[in-house]
C-alpha cells in the first residue's frame, strides 16, 4: 500500500515538528522529483519519531545549525534525480505548448493548408524564461531567509509562489499582446513530440530506479482515493436522506446504487476512445482531400507524435474508471459492500507486500 510520510507528521511534537517542517520546506524549495522528496522525508521522519520516543533532543539529530543540516541532507541527491526533476518540469511546459499548437490546428477548418499554419511562441518563450528566472531567484532568496527568520513557513512560501505566478501570468499576457515570434506549427509539434517520446523512453530505461516500486499495483494506488471519495458520497447522501426523513442507505445498498450509476462506464470509455481516434482520422481525411499523399502522411506522423502521449494520459484515467466498474460488479455479485471489499483488498495487499513489519 502506498503511503506518504505526511501521514506520520502528526505524531511529531514541539521542536521535532518545527524542525521537520523547516527541513520539509527546504526540500520542497529544491524542486526535487516527488519520489526523491518522499523517500528523504520518510527516512527522516522515522529517525525523528525514534529519537522523540527515546527522549532525545532534536539537536542530537540535526545539530545546532538546521540550515547546514538541510544543505548536507539534500547534498546526497544524485545528478540523476536532479536531471529527472528538471526533465519533469520541462515535460509539463511541453504539454502546454502542444495544447496551444493543437488549438491553432483549428485553422485547418478555415481552409489553411496544414504546413502553412504558424503559431506564436513568444508567450511561451517569454513566460517560460521569466518563470525559470523567477523560480530561481525566489528559491535562492527564500532558502537564505527561511533559516534566519523563524516565522517563515509553508504559508509564506505559498504566498511568495502565488506572487511569482501573478508576475509570470502578467508577463505572459504582455508578451501575447505586444511581441510575436511565429514558427510553423508542425515544427513545434514535431520538436515537442520528440521531446515527450524521448522523456517517456528515458523515464522507463534510465530513471527506472527512481520510479515507484513495481510491486505496488495500479489498483492499490487508486484504492485509497476511491475509498475516500465514496465515503464522502455515502455520508452526504445519507445526510440528505435523513433530512427528508428517509432511511439512510446501508453500505450494500450504496454499492448497488453505485454499480447502477457506473454500468455504462465501459461504453462511455469506448465512445471516448472512438471520438479521440475519429478526430485523428478526421484531421487526416481533411488534409488528405486537400494535399498530396506525402504531405498527408507527414501530417499524420506529426500529429501522431502528439497523439501517442495524449493516449497514454487518457489510458491512465480510463484504467481507473474501468477498475471501479469491475470492482462494483464483483461486489454486487458476491453480495459484499464496497467498503468491506476495499478493506479486505488492503489486508491482502499488505500481506503480499514486499514491506515486512519490524519485530522491535
Amino acid at each position: 500500500m502506498l503511503e506518504s510520510y505526511v501521514l506520520y507528521k502528526k505524531k511529531l511534537e514541539g521542536q521535532y515538528l518545527e524542525t521537520f517542517d523547516k527541513i520539509e520546506l527546504y526540500s520542497i524549495t529544491r524542486s526535487l522529483d516527488i519520489n526523491t522528496h518522499e523517500e528523504l522525508m520518510m527516512d527522516l521522519i522515522d529517525v525523528f519519531l525514534t529519537a522523540q520516543k527515546n527522549g532525545k533532543s532534536v539537536k542530537n539529530i540535526v545539530g545546532n545549525d538546521v540550515g547546514s543540516f538541510c544543505r548536507n541532507f539534500c547534498s546526497g541527491i544524485g545528478l540523476k534525480n536532479q536531471i529527472k526533476g528538471f526533465a519533469d518540469s520541462f515535460k509539463r511546459i511541453t504539454w502546454l505548448i502542444l495544447i496551444f499548437c493543437i488549438i491553432d490546428l483549428f485553422s485547418l477548418f478555415e481552409g489553411v493548408s496544414y504546413f502553412e499554419i504558424q503559431s506564436n511562441i513568444m508567450p511561451i518563450l517569454a513566460g517560460g524564461l521569466i518563470g525559470i528566472i523567477l523560480s530561481f531567484v525566489f528559491g535562492a532568496i527564500f532558502k537564505t531567509l527561511m533559516f534566519r527568520f523563524k516565522k517563515i513557513n509553508m504559508k509564506i512560501y505559498s504566498i511568495g509562489l502565488f506572487i511569482c505566478v501573478i508576475i509570470f501570468t502578467g508577463s505572459f499576457i504582455f508578451a501575447t499582446n505586444k511581441l510575436s515570434i511565429n514558427v510553423f506549427n508542425w515544427e513545434i509539434i514535431l520538436a515537442s513530440g520528440v521531446y515527450l517520446i524521448a522523456y517517456y523512453i528515458l523515464r522507463k530505461v534510465y530513471f527506472q530506479k527512481l520510479m515507484k516500486p513495481q510491486k505496488i499495483r495500479f489498483s492499490d494506488m487508486v484504492i485509497e482515493e476511491i475509498q475516500k471519495s465514496w465515503h464522502k458520497i455515502i455520508t452526504n447522501k445519507n445526510k440528505r436522506l435523513l433530512k427528508k426523513g428517509k432511511e439512510p442507505l446501508t453500505s450494500l445498498e450504496f454499492t448497488k446504487s453505485m454499480q447502477k450509476k457506473h454500468r455504462f462506464d465501459e461504453w462511455i470509455v469506448l465512445v471516448g476512445w472512438s471520438i479521440f481516434i475519429a478526430i485523428y482520422l478526421g484531421f487526416g481525411i481533411k488534409v488528405g482531400l486537400e494535399s498530396k499523399l506525402f504531405d498527408t502522411v507527414m501530417f499524420m506522423i506529426i500529429v501522431g507524435v502528439v497523439y501517442i502521449p495524449i493516449a497514454f494520459f487518457i489510458r491512465s484515467s480510463t484504467r481507473s474508471i474501468i477498475w471501479q466498474k469491475k470492482t462494483l460488479d464483483i461486489c454486487v455479485q458476491e453480495k459484499i459492500d464496497i467498503f468491506t471489499y476495499i478493506e479486505n483488498k488492503k489486508i491482502e495487499t499488505e500481506n503480499n507486500d514486499f514491506v515486512e513489519v519490524a519485530g522491535d
Binding site: D46, L49, T50, G78, V355
Partner: protein
C-alpha cells in the same frame, strides 16, 4: 584549521564499520556515532554518506515498516563493502601511524630532553 574534511574522510569508514557488524538503520547508526564522540559533527552528513555507499555498491538496504509506522531502511554490508572496509582500515592504519610520528615527534623530543 578546518577539521571537517578530516572528519568526513573518516566518517565513511566508521559508518561502513558500524554496518558491517550487523544489519542496522539510520537512528541506530547515529546513536552509535554519538556514543563514540561524533555527535555534533554530523549535521546531515550521514544521509549523503549512506547514499554514496549504496551507489558504490558497498551496502544494500531493505525496507521494513518501523514500529512507528514509516518505512525504515535497514542497511547491510555487501562483499564489495567488506573489501572497501578492509582497504580503508589498511590505509587508515598507515596514515595514522605516519601522522602520529610527525605530529607527536616534537612532544617525544621534549619529554626525552626533560
Amino acid at each position: 584549521m578546518d577539521d571537517s574534511q578530516l572528519l568526513k574522510g573518516i566518517l565513511e569508514g566508521c559508518i561502513l564499520s558500524i554496518i558491517s557488524r550487523n544489519e542496522t538503520y539510520g537512528y541506530e547508526i547515529l546513536s552509535e556515532l554519538d556514543k563514540n564522540g561524533f555527535s555534533n559533527l554530523l549535521e546531515g552528513t550521514l544521509y549523503p554518506i549512506l547514499s554514496r555507499l549504496e551507489n558504490k555498491g558497498c551496502i544494500t538496504c531493505r525496507k521494513i515498516k518501523s514500529p512507528f509506522g514509516p518505512i525504515r531502511k535497514y542497511y547491510s554490508i555487501t562483499q564489495e563493502g567488506e573489501l572497501t572496509l578492509e582497504s580503508f582500515l589498511e590505509n587508515y592504519e598507515k596514515v595514522t601511524k605516519s601522522a602520529q610520528q610527525i605530529l607527536f615527534e616534537d612532544k617525544k623530543g621534549d619529554l626525552s630532553n626533560a
